[in-house]
């Protein structure tokens, strides 16, 4: 029975199997072969011996990481930056979407959308470059303003205390508009008759906001929040790396930049693979847990 099914499918779809082949090959080569390479975390990888013949060291590299004095700092830095980032980049797009939704001037609304979406299309290099230029102690516009009000110029990029605020502020600036799209689309999906009915019953705009708008977008907000929480350990590499200087390493060294530093610059292949693996496993557990929660709470699931 099964065999006949396969044969029929093969006869009807042989050309589709053919065009699916590159996709399958791609995922095997570029996604699954690296997973095989994760065995390097348990071996002392020697390029000439390969994945399986390199000397086995068990959990040695994991011990090495956790026994080093800075391992906790790196994990702390990763979580702090992620959490701070989430704290600001999550709610602000919702606020923007709510504001846009309350606007009745169509063209002004369109203008605000066009302008706030635009920073999403700037590259990370450009955004970090702008932060650097604006915060320059001698020529930057931010310090011009500080000096104008009689303050002392601040060496923003050289101060480790400013690393996290600058990261989060620039992140808010570049993602706020783009991230509001999803909430705005949830808002436009609300049945307009509810608003009309409420108005006729004498509800104020504040009341309709409270009683209709908030409850209607709550499911979208909670699933987005849950998804975002699942990603707290997978902080992007690029931006942190670009903002990193010798002076702010204490706060800017996160898991991904440490893996790069050890694996690529110092060619500690096995050690950095072990750290990367630990990170991926934690991420995976987080995403699965978070999805289980969202399925239970909101009856919404990623799969």
């Amino acid at each position: 029975m099964q065999k006949r099914l396969i044969l029929r499918s093969a006869r009807k779809y042989w050309d589709l199997y053919l065009i699916l082949l590159p996709t399958v090959v791609y995922f095997i080569v570029f996604k699954y072969l690296p997973m095989v390479g994760l065995t390097m975390a348990f071996n002392d990888y020697m390029p000439n011996l390969g994945y399986f013949k390199s000397p086995y060291v068990g959990l040695g590299f994991f011990y090495r990481f956790f026994s080093s004095y800075f391992s906790l700092t790196i994990i702390f830095n990763t979580l702090t930056l992620s959490a701070l980032n989430l704290l600001f980049t999550f709610p602000l797009p919702i606020v923007l979407a709510l504001l846009l939704n309350e606007m009745r001037a169509k063209r002004y609304k369109k203008l605000v959308q066009t302008v706030t979406y635009a920073p999403h299309f700037l590259s990370t290099v450009v955004v970090v470059g702008m932060v650097t230029a604006f915060c320059s102690p001698s020529t930057g516009v931010v310090n011009d303003i500080i000096k104008f009000f009689g303050g002392e110029p601040i060496y923003f990029m050289a101060k480790e205390n400013w690393f996290r605020p600058l990261y989060v502020i620039s992140e808010v600036w570049s993602t706020m508009g783009w991230n509001s799209i999803i909430f705005l689309s949830a808002l436009t999906g609300i049945d307009q008759q509810m608003y009309e009915a409420a108005r006729i019953d004498g509800a104020s705009r504040l009341q309709t906001l409270n009683r209709i708008t908030f409850p209607s977008i709550l499911p979208t907000v909670s699933i987005m929040l849950i998804i975002n929480c699942g990603h707290v350990m997978s902080l992007g590499f690029e931006k942190v790396y670009l903002m990193q200087t010798d002076l702010n390493l204490n706060v800017s060294r996160v898991i991904s930049t440490y893996v790069y530093e050890q694996g690529i610059l110092k060619t500690e292949t096995s050690y950095s693979t072990a750290i990367g693996l630990m990170n991926s496993v934690v991420n995976f557990i987080l995403v699965v847990t978070v999805n289980a929660i969202s399925r239970k709470v909101g009856e919404v699931s990623l799969w």
């Binding site: 050309d15 589709l16 065009i19 699916l20 590159p22 996709t23 399958v24 791609y26 995922f27 570029f30 996604k31 072969l33 690296p34 997973m35 095989v36 390479g37 994760l38 390097m40 923007l96 606007m103 203008l111 605000v112 302008v115 706030t116 979406y117 635009a118 299309f121 590259s123 990370t124 290099v125 450009v126 470059g129 702008m130 650097t132 230029a133 001698s138 516009v141 000096k147 104008f148 600036w173 508009g177 783009w178 689309s185 108005r199 006729i200 104020s204 705009r205 504040l206 979208t220 590499f237 670009l242 893996v259 694996g263 690529i264 950095s272 693979t273 991926s280 995976f284 699965v288 919404v300």
Partner: protein, 307 residues
């Protein structure tokens, strides 16, 4: 209040705003305007600074619009061999990369959208799994190194040839938004599956293809990571690599028009140069932006929740 209600009823208008509502509306517009100003200020400043006399930037006289125009920075940018190389390479990688992305994503997504095709569930699972777990930076680097791809043209287009998320978005679109009847009809008429994809399905799905082109193209244009990781020859570097040297490491390489008489003048020029470089590197995306805006909202919505 009674009067107001009567008037609006008589005129056939909607209910008039109460005072509280007018305050509310005012607060909304005030806040939105504030956000608009904060978001647009850096953008306007960058453009203004790029065409300003650098002296105004240094002395803090440039507030919003240029006081004195100077296009020297742009002259310097267009004379820089490095930037020209970067531009050329980025265009090459972006166009070739996006073409590969679209062909592979479309074919893969269409094959997996056919509901009675044997094996599609297994392949879909294999693809979805990579969204949640992967080998990570170093094992991927080792695979690419062992394939002999390091520092080649292919390393910029192959490792990111398919995004699992995009493929699944497109698969869902083909499965749910293209009427299955027309596919069956084409099959009955003796059209091959690939023929159906090309002649029947794709022409009705151009908006999703546009969304994919935008997502992939912007990704290629702005990508910095793969060039940093996999390239080590200056002649192959992308625009973003050179941008980083100029903007973040303050390393100006071969910049300068040649007409600078002193190092002071050069230092001055650098101040507006930074901003000119940002404008020149971002311009293609910004020119493309009005066209993209029609599609990306749709794309974001398709990518969410049921991605």
């Amino acid at each position: 209040m009674v009067n107001e209600a009567r008037v609006s009823k008589a005129a056939g208008h909607a209910i008039r705003d109460s005072r509280g509502d007018r305050v509310f509306a005012f607060a909304v517009y005030a806040l939105v305007t504030l956000i608009l100003m904060i978001v647009s200020y850096p953008l306007i400043y960058v453009v203004s600074a790029s065409i300003s006399n650098p002296l105004d930037i240094i002395t803090g006289k440039l507030i919003l619009f240029p006081r004195e125009l100077s296009f020297r920075a742009y002259q310097a940018v267009f004379h820089s061999k490095d930037l020209l190389t970067g531009y050329k390479n980025t265009i090459l990688y972006s166009v070739a990369g996006t073409a590969i992305n679209i062909v592979l994503t479309t074919t893969g997504a269409y094959a997996l959208s056919r509901k009675d095709m044997w094996g599609r569930t297994a392949v879909t699972f294999m693809i979805s799994f990579t969204m949640f777990f992967g080998g990570g930076m170093i094992p991927t680097y080792i695979v690419i190194k062992n394939l002999g791809l390091l520092n080649s043209f292919w390393v910029m287009v192959l490792p990111g040839a398919i995004s699992a998320t995009n493929l699944l978005i497109m698969r869902n679109y083909f499965a749910n938004s293209v009427p299955q009847e027309i596919i069956e009809a084409a099959y009955m008429d003796g059209c091959s599956n690939v023929g159906t994809l090309l002649r029947v399905v794709l022409p009705t799905s151009m908006s999703i293809v546009a969304v994919m082109v935008i997502f992939y193209l912007v990704g290629h244009w702005n990508s910095y990571f793969s060039a940093l990781l996999y390239l080590n020859t200056r002649s192959k570097y992308t625009l973003q690599v050179f941008l980083r040297e100029i903007l973040i490491k303050n390393d100006y390489g071969d910049m300068g028009t040649g007409g600078e008489s002193s190092s002071v003048e050069m230092t001055l020029l650098y101040e507006s140069l930074k901003f000119a470089v940002i404008v020149v590197s971002t311009l293609p995306m910004m020119l493309f932006y009005p066209f993209m805006q029609r599609y990306f909202v749709k794309g974001v919505m398709m990518g969410s929740i049921k991605g």
